[in-house]
C-alpha cells in the first residue's frame, strides 16, 4: 500500500560529518539546516568522526549521500580516503566536500572519486542542488553498470 509521500520523489538522506581533528562546527551546522530546509533528512554526525563511523552510519542509515566538511589543509588526504573506505565497504554513495579547497586541488579530488566540491560562497540552493545532482549521477552510473 502506498502512502501519501511515495508520489513525491523519495526523501534524500544525507550523512554530514567532519573528519579528523579540526574543531569548528559552524559550517557543518549551517549546511545541516540548509539541507533540512531543502526537504532532506540529515543524519548529523558532527565533529571528529572516523572513516569507520561514517561507513557505519551510511550502512545503517542507508544514506543517499555524504557531506564532508573540511576547513584545513587535510582534505587532500582525508576525502580520498573516505571515498576508498566507502568503496571497500561496497557502498555506492557520493561524497560531496564542502569548505575551503584551493582551486588547484579541485581536479585531483574529483579524479579521486569525490563527487563535487562546494566552496564557502555556495548559496543554499547550490548546496542542495549539488547533493541532488550527485545522488542522481551516482544512480545513473550504478544502474548502467
Amino acid at each position: 500500500m502506498a502512502d501519501e509521500v511515495s508520489t513525491n520523489p523519495p526523501q534524500l538522506r544525507v550523512v554530514l560529518a567532519k573528519l579528523g581533528f579540526d574543531g569548528h562546527d559552524r559550517g557543518i551546522k549551517i549546511v545541516a539546516r540548509i539541507l533540512r530546509d531543502a526537504g532532506m533528512e540529515v543524519i548529523y554526525l558532527g565533529l571528529r568522526q572516523s572513516y569507520k563511523n561514517v561507513v557505519n552510519a551510511v550502512e545503517q542509515e542507508d544514506a543517499d549521500a555524504i557531506g564532508l566538511s573540511m576547513h584545513n589543509a587535510s582534505h587532500m588526504t582525508l576525502a580520498p580516503k573516505m571515498v576508498a573506505a566507502l568503496a571497500e565497504a561496497g557502498l555506492e554513495v557520493p561524497v560531496v566536500v564542502g569548505g575551503i579547497v584551493p582551486d588547484e586541488d579541485i581536479e585531483p579530488l574529483l579524479e579521486k572519486g569525490v563527487a563535487a566540491i562546494l566552496g564557502p560562497g555556495a548559496s543554499a540552493e547550490e548546496v542542495a542542488q549539488t547533493i541532488r545532482d550527485a545522488v542522481a549521477s551516482m544512480r545513473a552510473e550504478t544502474s548502467q553498470a
Partner: protein, 327 residues
C-alpha cells in the same frame, strides 16, 4: 558488498547473515512503504517475536539519546546485540529533518550496535505503521534488545513508545517535567521512571513528585492494570552513573510481565493495534479516492445532493459507507 540488482529476498538473506547495509536498505523499504515492504514484512514476521522492545520517551533534551547510548554500551559489554531506533520530528514546513540522536550515542555505543534514525515525515499515521515494521526487521535479524527513542510530545510518539514491552519515561529537574509527564499521559504509560541529570539540583524533588503521583495513581487503579508500581531510577547520563541500575530495573520489569502473563497480552495487543492501524490507513486512502476521484459512479451525485441541501452529510455517509468495499 553492493546491494545493486538484488531482490528483496536476497537482501533479506544478506541481512540475516549480518550485513548491516542490507538491513539498512530493508528498513528504507519499510519506511517508504514501498512495494518491497510487504514481502519483507512477511519474511520478517515468521522470524520475529523474540526481542525485548524498550521504549524511551520524555521531553526534548531530557537526555534520552545520551542515556540510550549508555544503555547500549552496557549491553554491548554484556555481549548483547542491541539496536536503537531513534525517531525525531520532521519539519512540518519542508518535510526535512535534522536527526541528531545518533551522534550522542555513537561515542559510547559498541560497534555491534545497530542505530537507525527516523523522521516522522509529517504523516503520523505512517509512523505508527513504519515503527512496528522496522522493529520487526531488527527483531528478525537477531537484535535484542531493541530500544525505541521518541520525543514524548505528540500522541503518536507517545503511543509508539507505549507499544514497547517496557516503557521508560525520562524526567529531569527544573523543567516541571513530572507535571508535563502527567499532562501528556506519560505517567499512565510508564513502566519505569528515570530521573536523568541527577547531577543537577532538584533531581530529588522530581523523584518525590513522581512518588506522590504514583501514590495517587495507585488509588486510581494504575497498579491493578499494570501489575506493578513503576520503579524510579536516578541517572546521570553524561557520566553513565545509574545506567546499570536502569538496566536492572528494565530487566526486572520484563521478568515480572513475562511471569505474570502480561507480556504475551501486550504483544497480542500490539499486533492487533498494528493490523488496526493498517486497516485504518487503507480505509482512509479509499475514502480519499472515493471523495476526490471520479472512480465510483453516483458519488458525485450524493455529494451534490449534500451541497444542494437535499441530503444530510449523515445520510450521505451512510449511503457511501456501503460502497467503500467497491474501491
Amino acid at each position: 558488498m553492493s546491494l545493486r540488482g538484488l531482490s528483496p529476498a536476497d537482501i533479506f538473506e544478506r541481512a540475516l547473515a549480518g550485513e548491516r547495509h542490507a538491513l539498512g536498505r530493508l528498513i528504507t523499504f519499510v519506511e517508504r512503504d514501498a512495494a518491497e515492504a510487504e514481502i519483507v514484512a512477511e519474511m520478517a514476521h515468521t522470524r520475529a517475536g523474540n526481542a525485548h522492545v524498550i521504549g524511551i520517551t520524555g521531553s526534548p533534551g531530557s537526555g534520552k539519546s545520551t542515556l540510550t547510548g549508555q544503555l547500549v554500551k552496557l549491553l554491548g559489554e554484556a555481549g548483547k546485540r542491541a539496536a536503537v531506533l531513534a525517531v525525531d520530528p520532521s519539519s512540518p514546513l519542508t518535510g526535512g529533518a535534522i536527526l541528531g540522536d545518533r551522534v550522542r550515542m555513537e561515542d559510547v555505543a559498541s560497534p555491534d550496535t545497530f542505530i537507525r534514525s527516523m523522521a516522522t515525515r509529517g504523516h503520523q499515521g505512517g509512523l505508527s505503521l513504519a515503527v512496528p515494521g522496522v522493529v520487526r526487521l531488527l527483531d528478525a535479524t537477531g537484535y535484542d534488545p531493541i530500544v525505541i527513542e521518541t520525543v514524548g510530545v505528540g500522541q503518536v510518539e507517545v503511543d509508539i513508545a507505549g507499544t514497547a514491552d517496557t516503557t521508560v519515561v525520562v524526567a529531569t529537574p527544573g523543567m516541571g517535567d513530572s507535571v508535563q509527564a502527567n499532562k501528556a499521559g506519560l505517567l499512565e504509560l510508564a513502566d519505569l521512571f528515570v530521573v536523568n541529570k541527577a547531577d543537577r539540583p532538584g533531581a530529588s524533588d522530581v523523584r518525590r513528585d513522581l512518588e506522590l503521583m504514583l501514590d495517587l495513581s495507585h488509588l486510581s487503579g494504575h497498579d491493578q492494570r499494570t501489575g506493578m508500581r513503576p520503579e524510579i531510577v536516578m541517572t546521570t547520563a553524561l557520566s553513565g552513573e545509574g545506567a546499570p541500575e536502569m538496566w536492572d530495573a528494565i530487566e526486572r520489569h520484563f521478568t515480572t510481565i513475562a511471569d505474570n502473563g502480561q507480556l504475551t497480552e501486550r504483544r497480542i495487543n500490539r499486533d492487533v493495534a498494528e493490523v488496526r492501524n493498517r486497516l485504518m490507513a487503507d480505509l482512509e486512502s479509499r475514502i480519499d479516492v472515493m471523495l476526490t476521484g471520479n472512480s465510483l459512479s453516483g458519488v458525485a451525485e450524493v455529494l451534490d445532493a449534500v451541497a444542494g441541501r437535499s441530503l444530510s452529510p449523515t445520510a450521505a455517509a451512510t449511503q457511501l459507507a456501503a460502497r467503500i468495499s467497491d474501491l
